[in-house]
Assembly symmetry: C2
Homo-oligomer: 354 residues x 2
């Protein structure tokens, strides 16, 4: 899932996302809650209508951003008090409030409000945090069941015209999140408690928070075993092209990562021949395609020399074209993995509902 | 002609420019001379191949930017010494050098190196400046005639594939530029001298340099009368949608202006209902199209509320979408004017060769 933090994949128009084959994108509740605000999105008919995107959308719960962007947050049983990174204003998100906000934003899949445990943390702290997340998950589900029909989708009017190829369900899907830090036993316990509450899909959160890559992998794979394979299993915030291919083959059904889009804006491009840092002077007069094996509209038209010039001259188009290429590379990687799985070459048996 | 300063119309991929109906764009010699440098562009086969654009390109001579971006320039009979606005390095452009650079860049239309007279200026200063421009024009033509076959077009290889619908001429066209400040008599004299030298097209330079709009118009129209109507007449650096429509109907064949693209990046949008400053809070929950009468891909898909959100949140996509809309508005304006002229409704009799 490409990341569209503020209801936009930075620099890429929605029709290009469609052409790239993006079937679902992630938007950030924390950022949208601050700007433009949930009431605006709700009144505009929800995120789909607001951003003119009729394919699937997932919103995170806002928890991760509160923990990563706010030094002055205060966590209690009730929820989290924090200050906006934009203007310092005070806010409070609880499991109920985060769910209310996500119902108002109107994505297809919404996430339970969790505490993303910091790394490193001692076992007592990780256990307490995991148990808080479990109690919050139950509150999220209770709120969701009571208010799930308040989505802003109905009566959404005539404009803009949506293609209608994607059927609109009557409610959203609320996914639970497994925490438990880097402790396999606490992860197992978190999985069991989350499954006991019952959700239509399960995420593995609290990884990619600074730990070594091997540890991410070990914890992700051991947690995966405890999650039902007939429901979507979503590994949050991962990863490189190699990692997403490996995780998908291991049974992960959904992943999101800012890497393809953020790296693109910093001139780091993924190709079939490895990573290319397009800012390097060695590409200044290289008239070959960025990736000769790539069929994207960037590689089909422009040279490395031109892409290097755009980046070196700080031209807007650099960010646009680089993002289009990296997304194409990621999406092609996933299409290839799906084909492997379908052909029985993969080891994963995960349900792919997206 | 949209402006593509550094061989890119900021934020808009070339295929979108094609779809918008852009038939010719302007690139800035001064900027390209500094970055990526003429040798790079020449080795890459010229601007067309470098930027993967097989429609027409015009380069200015670099004179205007030297005069507007450099406080430390020193003008002599030989040429202009100046320092780069990027790194302070010293450079020298003469009529011969500016022509050599433009031959190396390989646009279809190149411009004589002129001195853009500052405004206001006394008559003696304007006369001296105009006469210098006339002497430089002759030197440009002499250099061009001697070296015009050194364009980098031939042997341009196999990649990227150009559509081939636009035939490649054997040489460029060098246009002369009329100066003379805000003095109609000096403008007439400049026109006569430039025509005496002989060019396949003539530009009116030295306007839009801070003078009142009415004065721009008076000088432009009076100068136009002295230029042959069977050759392209190019008014440089103009203007608003109303102005370009009026000038075109008065016989101007070519215009360039950063207004549609630069204004777009500042959230100022041109519509059939007048200008819209999309940053305004009044649009925050406006779910109508930016311009209901507009057929561009932006107005067909997105709401004012979404465009306002993108701009307010400083999203890259704001600049992309706003630019696409403004270019569409300008190009549609010109298509309408052409239709009027073809139908005999216009008052202009200018040759439209682009």
């Amino acid at each position: 899932m490409p990341v569209g933090t503020l209801a936009s994949v930075k620099g890429v128009p929605q029709d290009v996302l469609e052409e790239l084959g993006v079937e679902i994108l992630l938007a950030n509740t924390y950022h949208l809650y601050l700007r433009p605000g949930v009431e605006t999105v709700r009144r505009m008919g929800g995120l789909h209508r607001f951003m003119a995107w009729d394919r699937a959308i997932l919103t995170d719960s806002g928890g991760f951003q509160i923990f990563s962007l706010n030094d002055l947050r205060k966590v209690s049983e009730e929820g989290v008090a924090f200050r906006s990174h934009l203007d310092g204003s005070s806010h409070f998100l609880s499991p109920e409030k985060a769910t209310e906000v996500q119902i108002g934003l109107g994505a297809d899949i919404i996430m339970a409000f969790d505490e993303c445990t910091e790394y490193p943390a001692d076992r007592g702290r990780v256990r307490a945090s995991m148990e808080l997340t479990a109690r919050w998950a139950e509150r999220c589900k209770n709120y969701f069941e009571a208010y799930k029909y308040e989505v802003p989708w109905e009566g959404s009017g005539q404009w803009p015209v949506v293609s209608g190829q994607y059927p609109v369900p009557s409610t959203q899907s609320l996914f639970g999140i497994v925490q438990g830090g880097m402790d396999t036993e606490l992860r197992r316990e978190s999985a069991v408690r989350t499954i006991d509450i019952g959700f239509p899909g399960y995420a593995i959160g609290g990884l990619s928070v600074g730990e070594p890559r091997e540890l991410t992998r070990d914890i992700a794979l051991s947690t995966l075993e405890h999650l039902p394979s007939d429901k979507p299993r979503y590994l949050m915030g991962v990863g490189t092209p190699e990692e997403i291919a490996q995780y998908a083959q291991s049974g992960v059904d959904m992943m999101d990562c800012v890497l393809p889009t953020r790296a693109a804006r910093h001139g780091l491009l993924f190709t079939s021949e490895g990573k290319v840092s397009i800012k390097q002077a060695r590409y200044a007069q290289d008239d070959g395609a960025l990736d000769p094996a790539c069929g994207c509209r960037v590689c089909q038209r422009y040279s490395r020399a031109y892409l290097r010039h755009l980046y070196a001259a700080n031209e807007l188009l650099a960010q646009v074209l680089n993002t289009v290429h990296n997304l194409h590379f990621y999406l092609t990687t996933m299409r290839r993995v799906r084909a492997w799985i379908r052909a029985g070459d993969g080891t994963g048996a995960g349900a792919t509902r997206t």
